[in-house]
């Protein structure tokens, strides 16, 4: 089917004048991705998958300027980790930690891509390509074709400390395209932290290959910059008895679209994708789009997304659990909830189940509500002022999502961030 002309035009305009990296070991993958993109075209508002989120800011040839935060307190300080810093999308060796972690091999895409051969060769763009069915994800295809850098991580043992990709923003116009690959070999374990706002506009793809018995924890506080425009895609493939836990915290952000595409390929695997976001004002639009496919026995998946919205903020959740024929004993759970702190804010949700196996337990729910008046009065009757009581109840609302973070210290750090935000925004 021929692409509608507006899509062709938008895609042409978007690519025009961009010097796409030729690539070494990624060369073929980049070329394939570019043809995928040309065949799909960039998203437009009329696309079913973008019904609730206008992609215009993400597909405009240039980003809208977005000021970096004046004071950006680093998070997860005082924690032993290997930090890799990108400033405006450019690797910052000065600010990054030297050294290595036993059982973890780390290279930069931009460096590795000078060579024709690399362990990531069979992976780069592969999970992204697989994730293009049944729904197009053109911004991810663009990323594979255009990524200028990223981190390639191969884990062969139990990593003694987390790898921390820290994004920093210094200018107001960077258009950042990064592509990370995380390959966790059989039985290996890693915690990956991703923090901060990479640039005015960001397109990030993560491809996670989690082998049999491997564990990957991913915790991602996305920074607080107000004007940022963000599209992220997390593609994960899970082997037998493997485990993925991914948690994203988003505060502020003019437009954020976080997609997670999870393939449960091995038996007895477990994938938890969760997120909390807080937004204040009409210039906040946050979209979580999740697609979990069960294609093996006895898989367990959870999607837990909570949103706190006020003063005209908009939150979107599109979540799907697809259970393929034969994926018996699947246990799939999905919950998306919003707390609307006023009548102006809006939560749009599209929860979906598609099940082709008969012996499964899947449930989903979506709710939208206000602070409980009863609970608020109970707290106030004990002497807690209205603002403190409201914030306490708001944190309580977010608690179920934060519980998805396995590490208490990480969870506490995020809870502190949320508390700070709530105190500033009430």
């Amino acid at each position: 089917m021929a692409l509608p002309q507006p899509k062709v035009d938008a895609t042409t305009a978007y690519l025009e004048g961009r010097a796409l990296p030729k690539g070494g070991f990624t060369k073929a993958a980049r070329a394939d991705a570019l043809s995928r993109l040309s065949a799909m075209g960039l998203p437009v508002r009329r696309d079913e998958y973008w019904r609730f989120t206008n992609p215009a800011l993400l597909t405009a040839p240039l980003p809208e300027a977005s000021e970096p935060l004046r004071v950006d307190q680093p998070i997860f300080t005082g924690m032993d980790k290997l930090r890799l810093v990108f400033t405006d999308g450019v690797f910052d060796a000065e600010a990054s930690d030297d050294g290595a972690i036993d059982g973890v091999e780390i290279t930069r895409l931009a460096e590795a891509d000078a060579a024709e051969i690399h362990w990531a060769q069979g992976l780069y763009g592969t999970l992204e390509a697989a994730g293009q069915k049944p729904v197009d994800r053109p911004l991810a295809a663009f990323n594979t074709a255009a990524a200028t850098d990223g981190i390639l991580i191969r884990v062969t043992g139990k990593a003694a400390k987390p790898v921390h990709i820290a994004y920093r923003q210094s200018g107001d116009d960077a258009d950042v395209v990064l592509h990370h690959i995380i390959k966790v070999e059989a039985g290996a374990e890693l915690t990956l932290l991703e923090t901060g706002t990479p640039g005015a506009r960001t397109n990030i793809v993560l491809e996670m290959d989690i082998a049999d018995g491997a564990t990957l924890h991913h915790v991602r506080p996305q920074g607080r910059a107000h004007g940022r425009q963000v599209a992220t895609h997390l593609f994960a493939r899970l082997g037998a008895e493997s485990q993925l836990k991914s948690f994203t915290l988003s505060m502020n952000g003019r437009l954020t679209r976080n997609e997670a595409v999870i393939e449960m390929n091995g038996d007895d695997a477990s994938a938890h994708v969760a997120g909390a976001c807080v937004g204040d004002g009409e210039d906040f639009h946050h979209d979580d789009t999740v697609f979990v496919t069960h294609d093996a026995l006895n898989g367990e998946s959870r999607q837990v997304f909570k949103k706190v919205l006020r003063n005209g903020a908009v939150g979107v959740f599109q979540g799907k659990i697809l259970v393929k024929a034969g994926a018996q004993k699947t246990d799939g759970y999905q919950i998306s909830q919003s707390l609307l702190l006023d009548g102006d804010s809006q939560f749009l949700a599209k929860p979906e189940l598609e099940i082709y196996a008969d012996d499964v337990a899947c449930s989903h729910g979506s709710t939208s509500g206000a602070i409980s008046e009863e609970a608020l009065f109970y707290l106030r009757s004990r002497g807690v002022d209205e603002k403190t009581a409201t914030n306490l109840l708001t944190l309580a609302f977010l608690a179920e999502a934060l519980e998805e973070i396995a590490d208490d210290a990480l969870a506490d750090a995020l809870r502190d961030r949320l508390e700070g935000w709530l105190n500033r925004h009430s």
Partner: protein, 251 residues
């Protein structure tokens, strides 16, 4: 201590009158009980005193040590020393009981210009008071009232009261849902708090609680008014004969 004069209250939503001129004065150190048929307005009185939304005061006044309660926010009333043990304690998922107690205690201390309790001091006091009420550490860790049995919720109310040390305690049917032993525990908790400067208003349907918490004055509320007041013998009369005689007498 507490002075209620000709208090009249309507429901905000439905133009319905609930309290039709309540008069009640409680001196420091006194224990007053209110009994009365279902729907007579006892809980409404307790809610209006503590500042719940949804009621419109159409006349009269309520003061605590001379300060106009009705002008204050609920948290200000609490800081001024008013406490309500709810007839139906509220469940708050996601807020730990301990966090809740510490937040409340420190909020009140702050409002009164006192220093906040340190985490260590706070813990020590809570553990001690919880023990007396047979509230185990598991109940302190769990979210406020979530999954608590009826009796556990009521004991948790008394624990809050013991921690907050209010001067005017309103107990709305704290005895309902309690087994005999729990009732004794609660009564002991209340009696331990009795002091010259602290007053109680105990709403109950049963004489039994009043065997343990000896009231100085018993009031009968009917149809939004206090229709009769007397000594402890009034509670016995209700226990034996119900309300029919009393209501007929005042009609």
């Amino acid at each position: 201590m507490l002075e209620i004069k000709n208090l009249a209250v309507d429901l905000e939503e439905e133009d319905k009158s609930i309290l039709k001129g309540v008069d009640l004065t409680i001196e420091p150190g006194m224990v007053h009980a209110i009994m009365g048929p279902n729907g007579s307005g006892k809980s409404t009185l307790s809610y209006v005193l503590s500042g719940k939304d949804g009621y419109e005061v159409t006349g009269g006044s309520a003061t605590l040590d001379g300060a106009d309660l009705l002008e204050m926010e609920p948290e200000e009333r609490a800081a001024a020393g008013l406490f309500l043990a709810f007839q139906y304690p509220v469940e708050i998922p996601g807020v730990g009981n301990m966090t809740f107690l510490r937040t409340a205690v420190n909020a009140q201390r702050k409002a009164r210009g006192e220093e906040e309790l340190s985490a260590g001091d706070f813990l020590k006091v809570v553990r001690e008071k919880a023990k007396a009420l047979k509230i185990d550490s598991d109940m302190l860790k769990r979210p406020v009232n979530v999954g608590f049995s009826g009796g556990e919720k009521k004991r948790n109310e008394i624990l809050q009261m013991a921690m907050l040390e209010p001067k005017m305690c309103v107990l709305d049917e704290t005895d309902s849902g309690l087994d005999v032993d729990a009732m004794k525990l609660v009564a002991e908790g209340v009696n331990a708090l009795r002091s010259e400067g602290r007053s109680f208003l105990v709403i109950t349907h049963y004489q039994r609680l009043l065997d343990h918490i000896k009231p100085d004055v018993v009031h009968i509320m009917a149809n939004g008014r206090i229709v009769k007041s007397g000594g402890p013998e009034l509670a016995l009369e209700v226990e034996n004969n119900g309300y029919a005689d009393i209501l007929a007498e005042v009609a």
